[in-house]
């Protein structure tokens, strides 16, 4: 089971801060399993993806399986 972590407004779209998904996930497979509005946002260039705490240069290369944590990072608004 992989854990998906939703940051910022993505948590509102997902309806939770975290979601657990079974099986091995690649990028297209992941998008197919998300509700359409969330998948559209996650696929946009504005959202970056971290696998186990490392931000991916190309999120389409994501491969996640049991025990992995995948974080979805919308544009930041700190300070």
């Amino acid at each position: 089971m992989a854990r998906l972590v939703w940051l910022g407004k993505l948590a509102d779209l997902a309806g939770a801060a975290e979601t657990d998904l079974d099986g091995t996930l690649d990028w297209d497979g992941l998008l197919a399993r998300l509700p359409a509005p969330l998948a559209a946002e996650v696929a946009s260039d504005r959202v970056r993806v971290a696998l186990n705490g490392v931000v991916l240069a190309d999120k389409a290369q994501l491969r996640a399986s049991a025990g992995d944590e995948v974080a979805f990072l919308p544009p930041v608004s700190g300070g």
Binding site: L7, G8, K9, E69, A71, P75, S77, G78, G79
Partner: protein
């Protein structure tokens, strides 16, 4: 803790902290000044939640694997760019009320221009680069704060 170029005269210290509850910028600055009595100058910036606006509350959310390591890397890059005696960053996360401090940056250096520039650089990067998400409550409704184009422009000043 990130490493940093040391000025010839003094030990350099970098302190970066995420505060989950309210902090006292004056007490932080007093301790920082005491630790850097040999520095010629200290420049500091305090960001706080606007009071008297219609913001009722503000929440800052980080992502533990990224947020603190990212701010530590920012501190290291400020120290690599200017010759500092010390750099302090305290950033709130969690729920904040109007008037509460959000962020404190203080830079100690032998000469004032390096302290000013390092604090300015650090703040611009905290606004646009730190892994923090902010939402505001107005009239009982929470809304996520979107990045501002001015913040991106401020960041571009540093090349």
């Amino acid at each position: 803790m990130p490493s940093c170029r040391r000025s010839a005269a003094a030990e350099l210290s970098i302190a970066v902290r995420l505060a989950e509850t309210a902090f006292d910028p004056a007490a932080e600055l007093a301790a920082f000044a005491e630790a850097h009595r040999a520095a010629g100058g200290i420049a500091s910036f305090i960001g706080q939640v606007r009071a008297g606006d219609d913001v009722e509350a503000l929440e800052l959310i980080g992502y533990a694997p990224l947020t603190l390591p990212g701010i530590e890397a920012l501190a290291a890059s400020a120290c690599a760019r200017w010759t500092l005696a010390g750099l302090l960053i305290v950033h709130r996360v969690g729920m904040l009320a109007p008037g509460e401090p959000i962020v404190l940056v203080a830079a100690a250096a032998r000469h004032r221009r390096e302290a000013f520039a390092a604090a300015d650089f650090t703040m611009d990067h905290l606004k646009s680069d730190a892994w923090l998400w902010k939402r505001e409550k107005r009239a009982g409704v929470w809304r996520w704060v979107e990045p501002r184009s001015e913040d991106r422009a401020d960041l571009a000043r540093w090349g």
